[in-house]
Symmetry: C3
Subunit: 230 residues, 3 copies
């Protein structure tokens, strides 16, 4: 049984599985699928053709999954676009915006007022602070931390596996400190830290830690002088 208040605006062909809890004044678009156990706060707006509350899957060559995750919990005032997918075991804060075609994995936390852009992806075990912006088509790999007010430009890429599957390595995504800004299509390597309020140029490859308040660019990324040259 699920709890769907009378003031829910339900589209056509919506599927709501068991044990779904829906708050007051929620809108759910057409052809959207809400899987078992999903919890949706008040005033949430969900677009068309989404899939919410997905259980983890994989094949024998993929990382072992936790045996059990909790529900997907979408807090009040958040908006989910169209054709988006979000996993069970993840917490979406208040007044968050998730774009069309975006995908968010399990065991992720997204802080209040953050924006996950169109077709952006956030992998498992990642923590996104408050008021972050993850732009279109950006890729936040697993085991990544963004503190508050971080800006991830369009098409930014991250990785969390130093040996690309060749050796045992504790998967470790980037750690991006408060106020840092990553330019479009930059590449961040496993485990690197980007310091507070630092800026990474478009197309850079960040292979080492970047201190606070630095501007760096290039492949590999190097600190720019005050005149903008390396």
């Amino acid at each position: 049984m699920s709890s769907v208040p009378e003031n829910t605006q339900l589209g056509k062909h919506v599927v709501i599985e068991n044990n779904v809890v829906i708050g007051e004044n929620v809108t759910i678009g057409h052809n959207t699928t809400i899987l078992q156990g999903t919890q949706i706060g008040d005033d949430v707006i969900i677009g068309n053709n989404c899939v919410l509350g997905i259980k983890t899957s994989g094949n024998e060559r993929m990382r072992k999954k936790a045996d059990k995750y909790g529900s997907l919990n979408i807090q009040s005032g958040s908006r989910i676009g169209n054709i988006a997918s979000i996993y069970a075991g993840t917490d979406i804060g208040k007044n968050v915006f998730i774009g069309d075609h975006a995908s968010i994995r399990e065991n992720v936390s997204i802080g209040d007022k953050s924006v996950v852009g169109r077709a952006a992806i956030v992998e498992l075990n990642s923590t996104i602070g408050d008021s972050c912006t993850i732009q279109t088509l950006a890729y936040v790999t697993g085991d990544t931390t963004l503190e508050d007010n971080v800006f991830i430009g369009p098409c930014v890429s991250m990785s969390n596996d130093k040996y690309m599957g060749a050796k045992n390595f504790t998967l470790n995504g980037p750690y991006i400190k408060s106020g840092a800004k990553i330019g479009n299509n930059a590449s961040l390597l496993p485990g690197i830290t980007v310091g507070r309020n630092s800026i990474i140029g478009a197309g850079a490859a960040v292979t080492k830690d970047i201190e606070d308040n630095i501007t760096a660019a290039g492949v590999p990324a190097k600190r720019l002088n005050s005149d903008g040259n390396k």
Copy 2:
């Protein structure tokens, strides 16, 4: 009320909201959602599980939206793939092809015979000329202009916000002149111009204007000599 001619080939579980106008000999795939006010020309073919005619959304931290946009208008002979999303307030020309998983925002104009590839994204307020090719996973940011016959390679990235949200800045995407070709995974910075028939190498970062008839490559992109070296 909507106008759906008898010769429409309608899939199963298609949702057609109010005030949709459909031309002659249109095909609409299964599980596709056509939202209010969408206008579809003759001989248009739309795939399965699409969402067409989306109204703009956002949260308090995102760009203020126009109060009102017109309809989505798809002109005759165009084809839309599967799992694609297109917004209201956009005009798709004649004989255009939009790939699967592609997403096109509001207030966009796409010229006749252009191709928007699989999972490619065109953001708001952008103008795409005739016979352009935007390849797979390419990202056309907001406020961008492509003249006619422009080629955007796979995974090309663009940005339109010089200060990444840190300062007030009039958002300004790239301006790409007729016949220019952008190599795969190149990064284009806000407001840069690429000249007529110029060629940008794969993986380049274009940080300054590029004149007509130039080949440029590297991070940052520099003009190549006739022997292909910088």
Copy 3:
């Protein structure tokens, strides 16, 4: 007529067209569309809101399509995520994992136990060996070969058209030999070969063939010395 065994777990609003053959103990999620002629092996699990068995399409400016392809054939034990699209004329091996939002074109072969990541794309006429990993948002262009045990990092980009549509050119994707590993967001040019067990750095642009057992990085990619410098 289609063959759907009684032990099939069928979601709601699933569309199964004619001549679909489904093996034993198959699960199909809600709102998924299975198009004409698709063949699904035993113990396959398919997510929600997918489109499987798509026929090729295009407009007058795109590559001429083959007149006829066979069915989509998904072999036993494979898992397809949510909101994925796969074309007719393609063969998915045993125990393969295809992520959410992924898209696989026609005339593709994917070997046993391989993984195609979330929102990754494999274009037409490509051959993927056994036990390959294609990570999230990676782009495998048309006419590409991956031998066995190849690792393609997140957001890797490839191209197959040397002249970007300007001249006649036989389309020719990269050829990546067994055990090679491509770092995240690297760009591979048309027709290049990456040798056995070679490693390409994150953000590199590979413009020439890379021999066996080499590590290369940079734009353009150059061989690294043993101390990691160019």
